[in-house]
Amino acid sequence: MELFKPDTGLIFWMFVAFAILFFCLWKWAWPVVIKGVESRADLIDKGVEYAQSAKAQLDNARAESDRQIAEARRQQAEILREADKMKTQIIDEAREAARVEARKVMDAAKQSIDQERKQAEESLRKEMGAMALAVADKVVRRQMADDAAQQRLVETLINEMDSKN
């Protein structure tokens, strides 16, 4: 069969062509291609790994920041509450102090008023006494000028004493 008889010419050319092809590709093409393909695969693997770790880091950072924000909120609320408490306390204290002070002032005022009144009463009493004496003096002087009137007064006074007894 012709099909199974290898043709010498074709074998010769096949050797030549394949040798040339293999030499050229072995020398110039395959090392570059294999190195390129492998290093790209490495690069992609590393890139994926990096991206994954970056994502994980990002997730971590996000969780951390969320946590911190929550913490900050909590602290803020606490601070506000604290401030509020402090405010009421301060106000209460101030109120108390003011009340004490006011009482002191009022007491002092009352005292001085009392004193004033007492002095005024005293002086009034004195003045009234003096005035009454003066009036009595004048009255007595006029009444004593008239005997009849003196008589009547003595009688009246005696009557009064009688009625009292």
Partner: protein, 399 residues
Amino acid sequence: MKRLLQIMMIAIAAFVVAPAAKAHNEGAEPNGAVGSTDPVATLNEQSVEEEAEAGELNPKEIIFEHLLDHYGWEVPFSHSLRIPLPIIVFDNDHRIHCFSSGRLDHEGETYTSGDATFEIAGEDSPYKGKVVQILPDGSVYKPFDISITKNVLALFITVILVMWAVCGVARWHKTQGHKAPRGITGVMETIITFVYDGVIKPTLKESTHKFAPYLLTVFFFILFMNLLGLIVVFPGGANLTGNIAVTLVLSICTFLATNLFGTKHYWKEIFWPDVPLWLKFPIPIMPVIEIFGALTKPAALTVRLFANMIGGHMIVIVLTLLIFIFAFMGPAVTGATTVVSILFSIFMLLIDVLVSFIQAYVFTMLSTIFIAFAQEKGEEHHKKEGDNHNEAATPTPAK
């Protein structure tokens, strides 16, 4: 839309081919040979001139004409026109002669170059279809023939294509760095990664870098030859991988790569394997078997690729020829055969595209496994024997 186009194409093909086939056979009917007996047997008996005159259909002839090598390259749609290619022969005095195959295009034509006369051997010669020298005494001498035949030219075209494609990838890596490959580079890289990461690297392990260039070259060379063989017109059409010379050279290369780089352990396994002494000492039974094993591997590689490719081509040709064989049975049968044959031919060609890939892959895979066997280190083998048994079991040849 696509389906409509397909149906239209088939219908057109049926209308064009069927009458042509009929005309082909009508011419033959006066001979009275076709209908009565087996056409092949009858035709072989007919003389050459009768055949030429009748435009006779000889399936066997046509099949082999398509499968075998030629000095010229057919022009599509014309049976007699051929692109002439150079014939290079060394005559009986070892002188080189170089002339165009156009000078020997017609049957019985002779060409005299210097004092040597050449012709293409006829049907009855043992060198049928080859260029022979007619010596002055009338005897026939088969010269050493390194003509650029159709197959050789196709070989060169394949070499150029492979070089262009692979160097394109290399250029991409040099100029574009690690950018994503596009166009032809992308296609090539997909296949390179498929073969390199899928077969070569896991099988060869640490000796990958030594053999990967050879294996990848073989893969793309076979793949491109296979695919070019499926194209019907000029740059393709040569049945290269279906030629035993081509597959033989490839498997010799694998054989050399296997044995020249074989480790000490590999040679020990051949000449002094771990078997009882009586199996290897007085009569070296095991060494003989091992040597036969080593020689069978390239033989199997040769025949596998050759037979697979030639089978695919043969089926497509036979399916097409069915149209012409059935042409004398009336228009209805002819039309039906035409449609069925063309559908099957298309189907077979698609299968052949798949087979082209598979065969290139299988050849590479088997070469890789053979080389990997010869790369085994002894100590390692003993150290993890269990592992090695598993590995040997996994990459079994698919076809």
